[in-house]
């Protein structure tokens, strides 16, 4: 049920973000979603893409440092309170959450939340037992096509 996420180290300088983006574009690799965390001096770009292995090679080939981590995708209704309900489950179960970001598939009335847990396997177990809709990578990238 876990999704592979690529993280890329970037300096916080003009033009640095375009280095990974151009490399992926040249290789014809599509990004499903991304998030960027930054400090005054450096940033971490996190990417979810279907062909993560190929993407990792392409990014490393462009001289970037890439790290692979497992994240959990959760589908919620795209309405007020959708995220709050999931967060409540996480909080009550005492699961350690490192960071998260979210995206939607445009026309659909659903939103996808991407969570980075300290222990993703334990988190998935708890979330599923509470009826939260954890989305696997096959389903996620399948949906992205439509």
């Amino acid at each position: 049920m876990k999704i592979k996420q690529l993280s890329v180290f970037l300096e916080n300088k003009p033009g640095r973000l375009s280095v990974p983006c151009k490399a992926l574009s040249k290789a014809g690799i599509n990004i499903l979603t991304l998030s960027l965390a930054d400090t005054r001096q450096f940033g971490i770009l996190r990417l979810v893409l279907k062909d993560w292995q190929q993407a990792k090679q392409v990014l490393e080939g462009a001289g970037l440092v890439v790290n692979v981590t497992e994240v959990v995708a959760i589908e919620v209704a795209d309405r007020p309170g959708g995220l709050a309900e999931v967060l409540e489950v996480i909080e009550q179960a005492g699961i350690n959450l490192e960071y998260m970001y979210a995206f939607t598939f445009g026309s659909e009335d659903k939103a996808v939340l991407v969570f980075r847990f300290e222990d993703p396997d334990a988190a998935i177990k708890v979330l599923q037992s509470k009826g939260v809709n954890v989305v696997g990578s096959v389903e996620l990238f399948d949906r992205a096509k439509h």
Binding site: S7, F9, L10, E11, T39, Q41, F42, L64, Y99, R116
Partner: protein, 442 residues
């Protein structure tokens, strides 16, 4: 229980001469040295300028009236303008590689060579060498003094030698496995290479049976000693020397390992501020300056080594009465003065080593944007240190920051930068850019 890891043995009774007698001997030998160099052109001129004669050397303090000698002075009299004996008295010429291409040469009489062997025997015995040992030498035998100096010292002690010389690590490993030497001689970094090749072949370096190692020829750190000792299960000793002074044998560690005993009956040592050339207080880092006291072919007065270390004259439990020097912490050539504090690139590298295990590529930039000097240390990010979590990355940066501060005593800016963005140069990488120099501020 003995306080030492093994028996404290002293090779030469001269090593324990009481201080007052040692100093009287030094004065007598200093006068003789001044007389010996009176016809060496460089000293002849300098002595004439300041009116120095051997008779004017009345106390060891008069050493300070003598001129310094630098590497550039030696170069000016290339190849052998400092020779103090007729050429037929020479039995050997060695040289040190210069970054400028031409080496600077030094020469030995038969007696110098014997003195040299004896001085090497002193530190070898202090660091565990016994006549029944077999020693493998991994230093090169050539113009460089490392190979021959240690070779003579080991012969003097009466131990056996495998003169394997430099290079071909798999062959070194084979010799160690088959001949089972107890002692390794060479540079500390080369021993780690031997360990690496051993591991690659599935051999545990601890199974090789090495018990002692005598390292020299390059600066290294206490952390590296811990690593080497753990890797091989041996005791590693530091020794120091440079060809201009005699080669290895200027100083070396004893069983107490509280610094390297300087062979003061053969060399006078000073520790000076490299800018003012005034002595620094004991315990503070300064440039080491040596004057030879017994050398015949190539006596040298107040040679500026450009090596930065500190001195310690507190009594040593090993009973040797000589002053001890710390590890060489840097070179004056690399020294940066930042907000009045001396900082060496090697200290920054040590901090990075402590945090990241192996040193990444880095660059030190010094600037003075306003009234204050600023150091920025740029560290290239590597896959093994990179995390997707911001707090892990911030913690890494803070750890580097803290280590640098604890080693150098000053705050720096640490910048994590993208890999392969720093220029790679062949050979010795240039790790420092001093923008103050470009701006004409220093």
């Amino acid at each position: 229980m003995t306080p030492f890891a093994f028996e404290n043995r002293i090779w030469d009774r001269a090593e324990t001469t009481p201080r007052d007698r040692l100093m009287a001997l030094q004065l007598q030998r200093l006068r003789r040295t001044v007389a010996r160099v009176a016809e060496v052109p460089y000293y002849k001129e300098a002595f004439a300028r300041s009116g120095i004669t051997p008779r004017k050397i009345k106390s060891l303090d008069d050493l300070r009236r003598l001129p310094f000698t630098t590497k550039d002075d030696l170069r000016r009299y290339y190849p052998l303008g400092f020779l103090a004996v007729p050429t037929e008295k020479i039995v050997r010429i060695h040289g040190s590689s210069g970054t400028t291409g031409r080496p600077t040469f030094v020469a030995y009489t038969a007696r110098d060579r014997d003195t040299w062997a004896n001085l090497c025997a002193r530190f070898l015995v202090a660091g565990g060498l016994r006549p029944e040992h077999l020693v493998q030498i991994t230093f090169g035998y050539g113009l460089f003094t490392g190979g021959f100096g240690l070779h003579y010292g080991i012969e003097k002690v009466g131990a056996a030698i495998i003169p394997a010389a430099a290079g071909n690590t798999p062959r070194h490993l084979m010799l160690i496995q088959d001949l089972k030497p107890q002692v390794l001689v060479g540079t500390p970094s080369y021993s780690l290479q031997i360990a690496e090749v051993a591991r690659a072949q599935g051999i545990d370096p601890r199974s090789l049976g090495l018990k002692f190692a005598h390292f020299g020829g390059e600066p290294w750190t206490e952390d590296m000693r811990v690593e080497i000792e753990r890797e091989f299960g041996l005791l590693a000793f530091n020794n120091y020397g440079l060809s201009e002074v005699i080669g290895p044998g200027v100083s070396g560690e004893c069983v107490a390992r509280r610094g390297m005993h300087i062979q003061e009956d053969h060399f006078l040592v000073e520790c000076v501020n490299p800018d003012t050339l005034e002595p620094v207080p004991e315990g503070e880092n300064g440039e080491l300056v040596f004057t030879s006291l017994t050398k015949e072919a190539f006596p040298i007065i107040r040679y500026r080594t450009r090596d930065i270390a500190s001195l310690d004259s507190s009594p040593c439990p090993c009973r040797r009465t000589t002053v001890r020097m710390s590890r060489v912490v840097g070179r004056t050539d690399d020294m940066l003065i930042v907000r009045g504090v001396n900082v060496f690139p090697s200290q920054i590298e040590e901090a990075l080593l402590r945090v990241e295990g192996t040193a990444p590529h880095y660059l030190i930039e010094v600037d003075r944007p306003g009234a204050m000097d600023m150091i920025t240390v740029k560290v290239e990010m590597r896959a093994q240190d990179f995390s997707d979590e911001m707090r892990v990355m911030e913690a890494l940066r803070e750890r580097i920051d803290r280590e640098i501060q604890s080693i150098t005593g000053i705050r720096v800016n640490v910048e994590l930068i993208m890999p392969q963005t720093l220029k790679r140069s062949i050979g010795k990488a240039n790790r420092v850019i001093d923008h103050r120099r470009e701006k004409g501020l220093i």
